[in-house]
């Protein structure tokens, strides 16, 4: 039984059923990062997927742009409790990038420029659930939001959508990434409020 707070009536009363429990709506696009914003020139940018066989699949910026580009509209949910509805992104599906990748491992560690990591089950990246996003609202993705390229996994709390992503490494086991080692949940389902470990 919750403790009532005298005099508190609440004000926003957001009743939108697109809002996961404990979230509130924002129109802004807050920025949360553990450190300085890396500035990565697209000339130097590279993305890789590395498998247990030591195989490395690489894409430079032009190679990524040459792939099928998707328009994606999804709600996004930050563990710090803001939810932004109907955000519009452009990017490449992980299905496209994994098309020629052979791996029997079930987990992925995403690595970013700047040293950030986050762990994700492989099945949460496939079947139209995740992208490498390079555009937001029809414009190139700004560096403070993870540009030139970030992961976009809208069905998980947004810290899983690693900014400045540079590669994915196949993992046999689900090992905690950066925020997961710092008190946050290993999986992060917003609808189950999986915020903290």
């Amino acid at each position: 039984m919750a403790v009532f707070t005298r005099g508190f009536g609440g004000r926003a009363r957001e009743q939108d059923d697109r809002l996961p429990p404990g979230q509130f709506l924002t129109e802004d696009f807050p920025v949360l990062s553990a450190g300085p914003t890396p500035r990565i020139d697209t000339d130097e940018w590279e993305f890789q997927i590395r498998t247990e066989a030591g195989e490395t699949h690489r894409w430079d910026w032009d190679a990524l742009q040459a792939l099928q580009q998707d328009d994606i509209t999804r709600d996004i949910h930050c563990v710090t409790r803001w939810t932004k509805l109907g955000t519009s992104w452009q990017g490449v599906s992980l299905d496209t990038l994994f098309a020629d990748v052979e791996s029997s491992y079930d987990f992925v560690m995403a690595h970013s420029y700047g040293g950030y990591t986050t762990n994700i089950p492989l099945e949460d990246l496939l079947d139209g659930k995740a992208w490498i996003a390079t555009g937001f609202n029809g414009e190139p993705l700004e560096a403070e939001h993870g540009g030139p390229a970030r992961l976009l996994i809208p069905h998980l709390y947004f810290w899983k959508s690693a900014k400045w992503v540079r590669g994915l490494v196949m993992q046999q086991d689900d090992e905690p990434g950066f925020w997961e080692q710092n008190g946050y949940h290993a999986y992060g389902d917003p609808w189950l409020e999986q915020r903290y470990s």
Binding site: A2, F4, T5, F8, F24, V31, A34, G35, T80
Partner: protein
């Protein structure tokens, strides 16, 4: 990582003191049986429940780093906000809320750390840095501590008297809109020159904790990287927009 477990448990908190810090900011000291202390820089979720069961939760940095069952939060009123105006303007001593935490294991300073530290705070971004200043003083740490605190005017500073009296930390005040009479630095945003002046004054390459509104932290972190700080030693916490 955390000093206490069971962060998913909501604990009942009673407001034991409330102090206006600035025209828009207020400190609340909460008594939370079973809290058990927190590290400097951690935060807590605060949950308010209306009589009809409606709930709102927000996360607040903790200004204290004591070992006991009390914690201090300092809240700045967000215009049009749902929770902060209530905490700044309405809640009274004796009222109850619920808290969960302490949370966060990244933006923290531990007294056993000996390297020089540079704290850079903008506005209410001082709160977790205040916990670090207090932990530094309480532990008798000899780690060199420097704080750069950017506020609009002298009236907008949180914990101004305590910071002015604090031992073991050198404070540089940056006033962005209005400086005190006779202040040597004209009012204006924190600039590269301010941070370079610290370098020139012999502040060693330190660990950096920067906290404040997004634009402030973005600018500070960029500037520090540009003047040669190791990005891997700059920790940031940003707020705003929600």
């Amino acid at each position: 990582m955390r000093r206490t477990g069971h962060v998913d448990v909501w604990k009942t908190a009673t407001v034991v003191s409330a102090t206006q810090l600035t025209p828009s900011g207020r400190s609340l000291v909460l008594d939370v049986p079973g809290w058990g202390g927190n590290l400097a820089g951690q935060h807590a979720d605060v949950r308010l429940t209306a009589p009809d069961g409606y709930q709102a939760v927000r996360s607040y940095s903790i200004a204290s780093a004591d070992a006991g069952d009390r914690l201090e939060i300092a809240v700045d009123r967000v215009p049009d906000g749902e929770v902060s105006p209530f905490l700044v303007d309405a809640i009274e001593v004796g009222d109850q809320v619920e808290v969960r935490g302490p949370l966060g294991g990244w933006f923290v300073w531990r007294p056993e750390e000996t390297e020089p530290v540079l704290l850079v705070g903008g506005g209410s971004g001082i709160v977790p840095l205040m916990a670090m200043v207090r932990a530094h003083e309480a532990s008798g740490s000899t780690a060199p501590f420097r704080l750069v605190y950017s506020v609009r005017s002298p009236e907008d500073a949180f914990f101004a008297e305590e910071l002015s009296a604090a031992t073991g930390v050198e404070v540089t005040w940056i006033y962005t809109r209005r400086a005190p009479d006779g202040w040597p630095r004209p009012a204006g945003r924190l600039a590269a020159a301010d941070l370079q002046a610290l370098e020139a004054a012999g502040v060693e390459a330190p660990s950096v904790f920067a906290c404040g509104p997004t634009g402030f932290v973005e600018a500070v972190a960029d500037t520090l990287v540009t003047i040669g700080h190791d990005p891997a030693r700059i920790k940031t916490e940003r707020f705003g927009g929600a």
